[in-house]
Symmetry: C2
Subunit: 412 residues, 2 copies
């Protein structure tokens, strides 16, 4: 069972937006064990859409299309699909009810243009769009399945989650897939693979291990593929073997982000966290506060970019700043201790560094970063030397700071 994704829209081809839809869809399909053969981005052009559909049908069984379903003139996907299938556009009552429901919510009248959103080719089944006026459409022809969805990410996701993925799961997946995740930090992919080589080699053929690396982190995903009855403990046993082997680097055993894993531990232990950010400038706080419910463990913190704020918000002393500078072990430790004390938390993270591209010196080149983590009676600090790309330095600092906090929590 192969799948292809076609994203339609000039805004992708002129580089105005990054196509995040495809990656999300590919990830969801990958979790169902369905391979994506190709992702194609094309313009709002009738012949190009038809050519892409023809090509995709030669290679794949399921084709997911996004984009071009808006109400404006340049949105031509629906008309092109109607022409492609020799179908007529007809008003769909269910889709119209959805349009009316959405406009009623905003107390606005349904115009003729809006009503047209409820017209669909007469050979498709509509898929309700809980988040917008353009319905999804499901076409079947010669054993191929073509799903057309809006390009707005949260509308596409709502349609995928409520309808398309469940449909694919119940119609095309005969077997049972079980996933187990292990998130590691502080060990590279190749070292990890060497560490667990014997366990990986001993996996039965119906259990696969995938390595999914990203900046400073590697997620391992075990996928078991069962045809009939199975023992749910089988995959868990392998997961346990791997986790135990590299336990120092394991930060989560679920499919969650590193920051969410840390929040979960803090919430479980009824502990509070604060931050004192200089070079990361709010990024670490942003990571935590992007997680729903983070306020149960994350109190907040200081973005202390200036000397003055390092002193007034965190109690860093003038003499430390004068003697050692802002990017130093002494300053970052005072920042972390100051955060614990001033913000009355059980833990604090502090960072100070030269993110770049300018501001480096011979002693402290761009990419020099000091990180400290503290409790009310303990502080640990470490120096890092990253590269010269500002955003990468900010992100790397965040991952390393979270890892230092994680180890501090575990060692206590």
């Amino acid at each position: 069972m192969l799948c292809e994704i076609i994203t339609i829209g000039d805004e992708i081809l002129i580089g105005q937006i990054v196509d995040t839809n495809s990656a999300w869809m590919a990830q969801q399909l990958n979790e169902l064990g369905i391979r994506v053969k190709q992702i194609t981005s094309i313009s709002d052009d009738k012949q190009h859409i038809i050519d892409a559909l023809n090509e995709a049908q030669k290679r794949a069984d399921i084709i997911l299309i996004t984009g071009g379903l808006g109400p404006t003139k340049d949105d031509i996907t629906k008309h092109t699909l109607a022409e492609y299938f020799n179908a007529k556009l007809v008003l769909n009552e269910e889709a119209l009810a959805n349009v009316e429901r959405i406009f009623a919510r905003f107390h606005r009248p349904v115009t003729e243009v809006n009503r047209k959103q409820a017209e669909v080719p007469d050979n498709c089944s509509i898929i309700q769009n809980p988040q917008g006026t353009a319905p999804g459409m499901h076409f079947q022809e010669n054993g191929k399945h073509i799903f057309s969805m809006p390009g707005v990410p949260f509308e596409m996701k709502a349609i995928m989650e409520s309808s398309v993925l469940p449909y694919i799961k119940s119609n095309f997946i005969g077997h049972t897939l079980i996933h187990e995740n292990i998130l590691t930090v502080g060990i590279g992919e190749s070292f990890l693979a060497t560490e667990i080589e014997d366990i990986e080699n001993a996996l039965p053929s119906h259990i696969k291990l995938a390595y999914l690396p990203k900046l400073g982190q590697v997620r391992m995903r075990l996928t078991a593929n069962y045809d009939g009855a199975y023992d749910p403990n089988e995959i868990l046993n392998y997961k346990k073997q791997i986790s135990e082997r590299v336990h120092k680097n394991v930060v989560a055993e679920e499919d969650i982000s590193f920051e969410e894993a840390i929040l979960n531990i803090l919430i479980k232990n009824n502990k509070k966290l604060s931050t004192a950010e200089s070079c990361t400038g709010g990024y670490i706080s942003h990571l935590f506060t992007s997680i729903p419910g983070s306020s149960r463990a994350f109190e907040g913190g200081a973005v202390s970019y200036s000397y003055d704020l390092k002193k007034s918000m965190l109690g860093v002393t003038q003499s430390t700043l004068d003697t050692c500078g802002a990017v130093s072990q002494e300053t970052v430790e005072e920042m972390a201790k100051g955060a614990v004390e001033h913000f009355k938390t059980d833990y604090a993270i502090a960072c100070s560094g030269i993110a770049g591209p300018d501001g480096g010196t011979e002693d402290k080149p761009v990419g020099t970063v000091w990180i400290a983590v503290a409790t009310p009676n303990h502080v640990v600090s470490k120096k890092f030397q990253f590269g010269n790309l500002r955003m990468q330095n900010i992100e790397r600092t965040a991952v390393q700071a979270l890892y230092m906090l994680f180890r501090l929590i575990r060692e206590e």
Copy 2:
């Protein structure tokens, strides 16, 4: 002159990474006036690469390929290109010197695997990679140009900027392209288009206007295309007409982000800014501090997620929190005034809201956000009602807060 982009790599097709390379390349080409016809993402599979190349050559004159140039077994792009062009792999001395230079920098020996990075098909011109060991390659066949580059974003960008884009510019662009940008906030694309309809209609055929919208902002880009001699003031005159017509909403007249535009004004006026973030949780600080040199105007701020930190860091009173709650006009104004006072800045931004998905009440549903901006003797606040998606609420709050600050600065 049409272009296509082919990105090679299983990690894209399993959704492990978002393909940001294509958008960046498309943007660069678009600025040169070159149309991208299609973007195709395919796996590290020989036949699939060959098929994609054949298809792309039917449609386009320039083909940019990224990915599959690493030293590991699954990186097969180079071998596939050699086979495709019936070429032999030969060691390239210039490329080898680059590999040796990079390894010398890290004081590591060049292994056999690393040396192989310097082998290229004998029918290509190599393009030096200032950031990595895999050289870029330029193939010419039947008037078509094929450029192969690494998939690592900063390596690809370095090769594009140092070689590919200049090559395209000097060989394929006979005319002169001039771009002018106007960034607007607080007005939707369709309203904007109506406002300036007569100016747009009066544009000569060699000057085009593009609308590039994103969350709360619309960038307008004028592009003039001259064949021979030209008057550089022509495009500036149209830009001035448009800017004056919608001056209330214009926040920048260069190709920069909104936050950078604000920082530039603050730096020029020698003013300082601080933040007091609750629902945005550090995101606004992160936006500012992502800009190199932001420390010249941005002092820092408080991420005051908890009641306690709103009191201790910003001086919000217990009685205000008790009477009005954290998400209220009174609290957000005290936060903004507190930031100006405690952080000794000329301006401050404060936000407090219910980002969701939980935590709403009948009075204050999810998406309720109060924003205030303040100077030492003035404070302005406003209530917003956004939707129920956490990240969108955070981003929308940030844009609106920046816009309120921008207007406050201008009105002073």
